[in-house]
Amino acid sequence: MTPLLQVKGLTKRYGARIGCTAVNFDLFPGEVMGIVGESGSGKSTLLNCLAGHLEADAGSVVFDTRAEGPRDLRAMSEPERRMLSRTDWAFVHQNPRDGLRMGVSAGGNVGERLMAVGARHYGGIRAQALDWLDRVEIDADRIDDRPTAFSGGMQQRLQIARNLVTGPRLVFMDEPTGGLDVSVQARLLDLLRGLVREMGLSAVIVTHDLAVVRLLAHRLMVMKSGQVVEAGLTDQVLDDPQHGYTQLLVSSVLQV
């Protein structure tokens, strides 16, 4: 089976400082990979390098494209990369304001990707927007409201709908539940887990919340100071941490 994403020796430096260094992993179709670590450990840098938002300094990221098979993203032209990020990829930001157009109605937000890939039938676009609002549990009568009128949890769900409407195969998520209260988090995680199963999505989820990876991720990478210190099956890493930092991380989770 061809991995959907093959990462080899990925390195990003900010001058003399290390963003992330020598990261290797394979992501297979339908697999969810979690990346945990403290603030400043290079999780978001790694994610942004994968998604093409940042230019990596060394290494390769090979994505299994629909049309031409495995291609190195760093060797791809910008139009191709942007096309990928509109169709086959999705990026869910921590703050929905970064991922949504706040001045455009919910329907327009969901429809933007469809229109970007050439949908030109208003009724069709609207029907698909309604379908997706329903799937992320937003009432149909809110379709013409702007995201500014939505609660934080609704905004995050709208962002997910907007990203998944073109049927991507790979989703990047940067702290998807950060800044939401616990009950809303639980609902969002339920929703995400359902969508990932149903659509057979692969995902890379960056978070510092171990409960999130326990629930969503099949495999886990633990990062510290730009390096991957431990990787393995999620339950294995969390139940039997080997590296000192992982042990610290697991033991510092608050118990209720």
Binding site: E78, P79, R82, R101, V104, S105, G107, G108, G111, E112, R113, M115, A116, V117, R120, H121, Y122, G123, I125, R126, I143, D144
Partner: protein, 290 residues
């Protein structure tokens, strides 16, 4: 004549503008940057159009200037006088007699011919400006042909108003490539963008020139189930009776009285001179009889 160089601008500046115009004609719809000069009029009064006109004028030209369809409003009168003074060219108000027409917000009703040039005054040349404020990003969107956002704007119109409510500066796609802002002409005029004449667009403050060569293919963007409509007020002209022209609504008293008149004054006068009469018109020459 006068102490000015012909048509006010110095020859080097005209040369620079002509190069920009040639490039704009070679890449229809692409916004060519140019080093816009200070003109003796405020921004927003047609500094871009005036510079393009100045670069195109030759002494044999006959100039017509339109402001919102009319020849006798402030902007039109002052620009016409400007070129009478600095270039000494002949001027006219007749569309058919003019060789170079500078316009603001309208395309003449009379179809243009192959030996005419139409110069538009453009306030904001970037069709994506109100959707994406970053210039770096809009340039990238143009170069990568990422125009989904224009349709988001039209989608919002339909969602909010039940139809495409954008009525002027209606975005068009030129030769299947660049999305272009046709300057704030009413969308009624959009079909006339496909013309025999050369059409040049000058934006002075924004320092951009773009162009439509003759017979250029121009498509107004729309949805399959909400097609583009070149709309106008549903009336006939009260002066000349024409059913097919773009109309201005004029309030005539404070009791709700109103009349609709052609916005293109030259076309309207031509029809009245030919004997067409609208609902409220007296025959030409007898306006003050009563």
């Amino acid at each position: 004549m006068s102490d000015y160089n012909f048509a006010y601008l110095d020859e080097q500046t005209k040369r620079m503008i002509r190069r920009a115009i040639l490039k704009a004609l070679a890449v229809p719809g692409y916004q060519v940057p140019f080093a816009s000069r200070e003109m003796p009029m405020p921004y927003g009064w047609g500094t871009g159009g005036v510079q393009v006109s100045a670069a195109c004028l030759v002494p044999e030209d006959r100039l017509k200037v339109i402001d919102q369809g009319a020849d006798d409003t402030t902007n039109a009168v002052s620009i016409r006088r400007f070129f009478e003074k600095t270039a000494g060219v002949a001027t006219t108000t007749k569309t058919t007699e003019a060789t170079l027409i500078q316009t603001r917000h309208r395309i003449p009703e009379e179809p243009l011919t192959r030996d005419q040039i139409l110069v538009y005054q453009v306030p904001i040349p970037e069709p994506l400006r109100f959707l994406e404020p970053r210039e770096t990003e809009t340039r990238k969107m143009h170069s990568l042909e990422e125009y989904g956002l224009v349709h988001v704007k039209l989608y919002e119109d339909i969602a909010r108003h039940g139809q495409i409510a954008t009525s002027y500066a209606y975005p068009v796609k030129v030769e299947g490539r660049y999305v272009m802002d046709p300057s704030p002409i009413p969308k009624f005029d959009n079909p006339k963008l496909e013309s025999e004449a050369i059409q040049l667009f000058g934006a002075g403050r924004e320092q951009r020139i773009y162009a439509l060569p003759p017979y250029c293919h121009v498509v107004s963007l729309d949805f399959e189930d909400h097609p583009f409509v070149a709309s106008k007020a549903d009336h006939a002209c009260d002066l000349c009776g024409s059913n097919s022209t773009y109309l201005d609504e004029v309030i005539v008293d404070d009791a709700g009285g109103r009349m609709f008149v052609c916005s293109d004054t030259d076309y309207c006068e031509g029809r009245r001179a030919a004997g067409h009469l609208g609902r409220l018109a007296a025959p030409l020459g007898q306006e003050n009889a009563a």
